[in-house]
Symmetry: C2
Subunit: 142 residues, 2 copies
């Protein structure tokens, strides 16, 4: 039930970009250094973020990555849903046919409700909110 590093690192990646939103494109290398994450791993994580249009990239020297939208318009819930590959706690929430017991399964409803509660919270938090906190507190971490 733990979050994968994909969604955690991805969130920190975007938060880092939000914290440096005013300047030009950021090198992944510099983000990786600040965050203590391998560049190569971030390169993989940023791909879906680009596809989903959270990030724009510029190639060549002086290139890098920028947020494609303002931090106010990006929620943590979206990021996690994208990088965890869905908003469910069990396979059968999204694909009932994955389990032949789905039809008359009582427990699957509660897993759906639990996931919904969790994402309701995550969807209510934008990168801008995190920015605000980080300005009073510190950096980024987990």
């Amino acid at each position: 039930m733990k979050l994968s590093t994909r969604s955690r690192y991805g969130t920190r990646l975007l938060l880092d970009m939000a914290q440096n939103y005013q300047g030009g494109p950021l090198h992944l290398t510099s983000i990786a250094n600040r965050q203590g994450i391998s560049v190569k791993y971030l390169e993989q994580i940023i791909i879906p973020l680009k596809k989903a249009n959270y990030v724009k990239s510029v190639r060549g020297p002086k290139g890098g990555h920028v947020l494609a939208r303002p931090p106010e318009e990006i929620t943590v819930g979206e990021i996690v849903a994208l990088l965890e590959d869905g908003v469910s706690l069990v396979e059968c929430s999204e694909r009932p046919e994955s389990c032949h017991r789905s039809e008359n399964c009582v427990t699957r409803h509660i897993w759906r409700e639990a996931a919904a509660a969790m994402f309701a919270k995550l969807n209510s938090i934008t990168l801008a909110d995190l920015l605000k906190i980080s300005e009073t507190e510190g950096g980024a971490g987990a």
Copy 2:
């Protein structure tokens, strides 16, 4: 971010026992058959449930397992917390020392809030609630 089979099977295990609460102790074999789960795996899962006093066992022929408390007093949240080994979505929620960035990490707060939202929901559901649903609907599944 998926729930492990441990907590899913554990919940179904207890629900099955709740559905047959009136009779004597249930054989793990019969539960395993009804639920389509291997006996050997259930034997492992039931151990922490016994330690935490959700289940009582009787050895020997005619032995088996019974709920140690009425279904009204057992919430799904407790079961999941027990079998997932905690109520957090990230290691650092429960053990901040597990990450040297914890101190000034912004994101860890939101993972804690998300987990709290999820467990608030799960804690509000008892086995008795599931029983009620299963009486109108069907069996147990996921």
